[in-house]
């Protein structure tokens, strides 16, 4: 997919002016937050579980090489295949090979952000294979030629009228007079249309929420059941997962599962948590004949051992974006690549480079709400600041801001000069603005005064006034 992260500012202006989008974003600001809070309040152990989940992932990351080897061994023992992919290109190549060997024409897909990351759909299409997204939200945006705007609610930027329009356009074999005014009708229609696609598919592709090293198991978590139909009906099941999805044991998976759904949708458990291990057994009467896992690195190994290692704990619940004022304002597409919101602001520069993704960690107020709700306690603001440091070191931030900052810092480091400058500057500013209490415009402050008035200083600084008061009191005491 085309990366528009460098145009974040233009993207966000367009998003703010998009009335349909703004209407849809109201749903994010309310529903997700209330549901999560309710689920969290109902589980007194929630915060301790967050610590437990964090510790599990930290342990995994410190021993990732060993757990990957253990996991691979178990997958092979259970009759599956593991394909190691260093890059998105490697992953796409491995998937295409498997599809070709299976003579695949149609591939069904469960919801997976990793296949967005490797831009799989376009690639398969260009090789004559039709990918069919089966998650309702993913299906809708595939019809529209769009990408997910949220990692767990891909079509959260749309309203039902827009979906109705798309269904009427694409499902043109159905009666034009049918009633599609309510979400129930839209869902019913998608269910009927997709049901036949599951049976048609030769290969089913899912992501993975967890890979269990102890057993060689991949776990997916869904509510619709589409991920399950995607993996049990076709002859071949391909799991695409990045290397940090490993957890050591079934117990560890259980710990993290407890915080996942509560943080994501406010459910105690998602409807379907499915543990898959290898292909169909001799004792099975359904399920896939082949089971493949694509283990993707794509830049993650380089995050280990750096200040960005903590980001690899992320379980993709979406809580950070659900609670982010910037995401609430502009939605996910403005971020310009696969991962939006605070997690995207940290991960995107790691994966596509800070030169392209640099706006994202800057476009944060550092309000800290993301970190306060993150089930894995990832210090998201801190890592955004680390990106800003890398940008600063490499001189990537715009010249005006940089020089303005050094000018200010020159004084801030020198108390006497600072005191002198403010003692002269403030009265001068007050004089030049005729003692007004607020300004509607000031040179160099356009970003502020375009939307707000600027409250003006009084005629003298606190320090000047306090020194005088202090002197007076001391004199009086004498």
């Amino acid at each position: 997919m085309q990366i528009t992260s460098p145009e974040f500012k233009a993207n966000s202006r367009a998003a703010l002016a998009d009335a349909q989008l703004q209407k849809a974003l109201v749903n994010v600001r309310t529903g997700f937050i209330e549901k999560r809070q309710k689920a969290v309040d109902a589980l007194p152990e929630f915060d301790r579980l967050r610590d437990s989940a964090r510790d599990i992932k930290n342990h995994v990351l410190e021993n990732l090489d060993l757990y990957l080897e253990a996991y691979e061994k178990k997958v092979v023992q259970s009759g599956g295949h593991v394909h190691w992919a260093q890059t998105a290109e490697d992953a796409r190549g491995a998937i295409l090979d498997i599809c070709r060997k299976a003579n695949a024409r149609v591939v069904t897909k469960g919801k997976s952000m990793i296949t967005e990351e490797i831009a799989l759909n376009d690639f398969l299409e260009s090789h004559g294979i039709t990918p069919v997204e089966t998650d309702l939200g993913e299906y809708i945006i595939q019809l529209r030629g769009e990408h997910p705007s949220h990692i767990i609610a891909p079509a959260v930027h749309l309203n039902k009228e827009q979906v109705e329009e798309d269904f009427r356009r694409v499902h043109d074999h159905l009666a034009p007079g049918r009633d599609l005014s309510e979400p129930e009708a839209l869902l019913g229609e998608a269910r009927r249309v997709l049901r036949s696609r599951y049976f048609e598919a030769d290969v089913g592709i899912t992501g993975a929420n967890f890979l269990v090293a102890e057993t060689g198991t991949s776990i997916i978590v869904t509510n619709e059941g589409n991920g399950d139909l995607t993996q049990i009906l076709p002859r071949v099941h391909i799991v695409v997962a990045s290397i940090e999805k490993i957890v050591p044991t079934l117990e560890d998976a259980s710990q993290v599962l407890r915080v996942l759904a509560r943080s994501a949708t406010g459910q105690d458990m998602s409807v379907y948590t499915t543990l898959s291990t290898g292909p169909r057994r001799a004792t099975d009467v359904d399920g896939p004949d082949e089971y493949h896992v694509i283990l993707l690195d794509n830049g993650r190994s380089a995050m280990l051992g750096t200040e960005f290692q903590d980001m690899l704990r992320c379980i993709r619940c979406g809580a950070c974006m659900n609670h982010c004022p910037v995401y609430h304002a502009v939605g996910g597409h403005a971020y310009g690549w696969v991962y939006p919101g605070p997690m995207g602001a940290v991960l995107t520069p790691s994966l596509i480079g800070v030169a392209k993704g640099g706006h994202l960690p800057n476009a944060s107020t550092f309000c800290g709400r993301c970190e306060s709700v993150c089930p894995m306690k990832i210090p998201l603001p801190r890592m955004m600041r680390h990106w800003r440091e890398r940008e600063f070191e490499r001189g990537l931030n715009p010249g005006v801001a940089r020089y303005g900052l050094s000018f200010w810092a020159f004084f801030a480091r020198r108390p006497k000069l600072y005191r002198l400058a403010s003692a002269i500057g403030i009265p001068l500013l007050s004089f030049a603005t005729f003692g007004r209490k607020r300004l509607a415009w000031l040179p160099f402050a356009g970003g502020w005064t375009k939307f707000r008035d600027l409250p003006m200083p009084e005629s003298r600084t606190f320090m000047q006034q306090f020194r005088d008061r202090d002197a007076t009191t001391k004199q009086a005491a004498r």
């Binding site: 966000s12 107020t365 890398r390 502020w448 409250p455």
Partner: protein, 256 residues
């Protein structure tokens, strides 16, 4: 108890915004701290906490500014700032700047341990339950992000406001949601900041309060600036002004 601990010496970290834009908050802080039984001094060697540099990725300048602040304040019994954001910077972020430099790390940790935000200093350290102020009218209170999430400031200002004669507190819906200030964010991403602060002023209007209070001048200037631009009659003040009974002067951005 020795005499100094009976009347601790407090170094007031004024914050650059209060120094330059709203001196009355500084005087309110001095009064409140003195009334709580402390001696207040204002070291002239202070400048800014360094957040503009820190949040722009300029670690070197931040560190130099931090060294200056620590030098100026480390001899006091307490360091108090009328801002959750600056106090958070001093308390939570300074120590990290000196990682790997044992001498400064120890100094920064000792300094950080003495730092408090003004309102929580009054309630949690000095045990103040009533500041004896009065303020006639309804107010609403915005929880500034750093204070709320880095320092756990939420109930303390509400408890003190509850004791202010004549004051009624109308709780603000989504009081814990960012106002869109974010330091340089509000200028760098002004369109987004405007969208966020517009949500906030909508909620402020819906609260029906005549006065908006908060504990951080940055957020207040942002919200007051937007309210003024919208022609709102809501007045904005730092919570310390009300707690100190120093509300005779004009509100932030002037009256009317």
């Amino acid at each position: 108890m020795d005499a100094t601990m009976a009347r601790p010496r407090v170094g007031l970290f004024v914050t650059c915004l209060v120094d330059l834009f709203r001196p009355v908050v500084g005087f309110a802080a001095v009064k409140l701290i003195e009334d709580s039984g402390c001696t207040v001094e204002v070291p002239m060697a202070q400048t800014c906490c360094g957040q503009p540099a820190y949040n722009s990725g300029d670690r070197l300048d931040t560190r130099r500014i931090a060294e200056n602040t620590i030098r100026a304040f480390e001899d006091y019994d307490y360091v108090v700032a009328p801002s959750g954001s600056c106090a958070g910077m001093l308390k939570k972020h300074y120590p990290g700047l000196f990682k790997g430099d044992p001498r400064w790390e120890t100094r920064a940790a000792a300094f950080a341990a003495k730092v408090h935000e003004l309102v929580t200093f009054l309630t949690d350290v000095r045990g103040v339950t009533d500041t004896g102020a009065d303020h006639h009218g309804s107010v609403t209170y915005h929880d500034s992000c750093s204070g709320l999430r880095e320092l756990g400031i939420r109930d303390q200002p509400r408890a003190l406001l509850a004791k202010v004669d004549g004051l009624t507190l109308n709780e603000l819906q989504d009081a814990d949601v960012c106002c869109g200030f974010g330091g340089t964010f509000c200028v760098k991403y002004s369109d987004i900041s405007n969208a966020i602060v517009s949500q906030k002023t909508e909620k402020i209007a819906a609260s029906g309060a005549g006065t908006l209070l908060a504990g951080d001048l940055g957020c207040l200037m942002n919200m007051a600036g937007k309210l003024k631009r919208q022609g709102s009659a809501v007045e904005s003040r730092h919570v310390a002004e009300v707690l100190a009974g120093m509300t005779d002067g004009p509100p932030i951005g002037g009256a009317g």
